[in-house]
Symmetry: C2
Subunit: 113 residues, 2 copies
């Protein structure tokens, strides 16, 4: 998946446990790349690359502070993904409600016989 469009980039970024964990940890406040990388069994460059993915998906921001980078979440980064899922769920529920309605309808017709 070349992840050319915005939504694909976001979902693709979320499709990795380490990156999801990074987002969860950043929920509690901004931290530096070093602190962020510490608990993971992978190298620091690998974490830096994960941050690059999150950044280009619009989920994370790195602000330069001397030789440190403070990483923080982009509040609105999940909005599109969230909206897409919500739309699908709404349609699906609608559909299943309709289905149930039809089943009820049938049952009523059966009872009427």
């Amino acid at each position: 998946m070349p992840a050319t469009d915005e939504l694909s980039r976001v979902f693709s970024a979320l499709a990795d446990p380490t990156r999801r964990d990074i987002l969860t940890r950043l929920s509690h406040g901004p931290i530096s790349v070093g602190e962020l990388a510490a608990p993971y069994p992978i190298s620091r460059p690998a974490v830096s690359q994960h941050l690059g993915v999150l950044e280009s998906a619009g989920l994370v921001e790195r602000t330069v502070d001397a030789q440190w980078r403070q990483c923080s979440i982009c509040e609105e980064g999940l909005d599109d993904a969230s909206a897409w899922i919500a739309e699908r769920k709404a349609e699906w529920n609608e559909r299943f409600d309709l289905l149930e309605e039809r089943i009820r309808e049938k049952r009523r017709q059966g009872e009427a016989r």
Copy 2:
């Protein structure tokens, strides 16, 4: 991304425009693989493989009907992904509310001076 865990498989499945489009079209009701594949510029096996990805992510179901497969959505397939995003958004909003609170607090202290 080897996509070993459930959530990764779901997000990974959503990280492709064709697969998202398939899900959207299936929202309007089950259709066969052939109908599903028709509008796309890719081969039918490619669509079949996309369906495999969606299926093993628990988003789509294929039921055998003679030599046809009726594809339909799995209603609860998006629940985990939806919940994960909702949690993050909740934490983020909480955090930003806190931040705003602090800014207001500071402003009040400034005014008091």
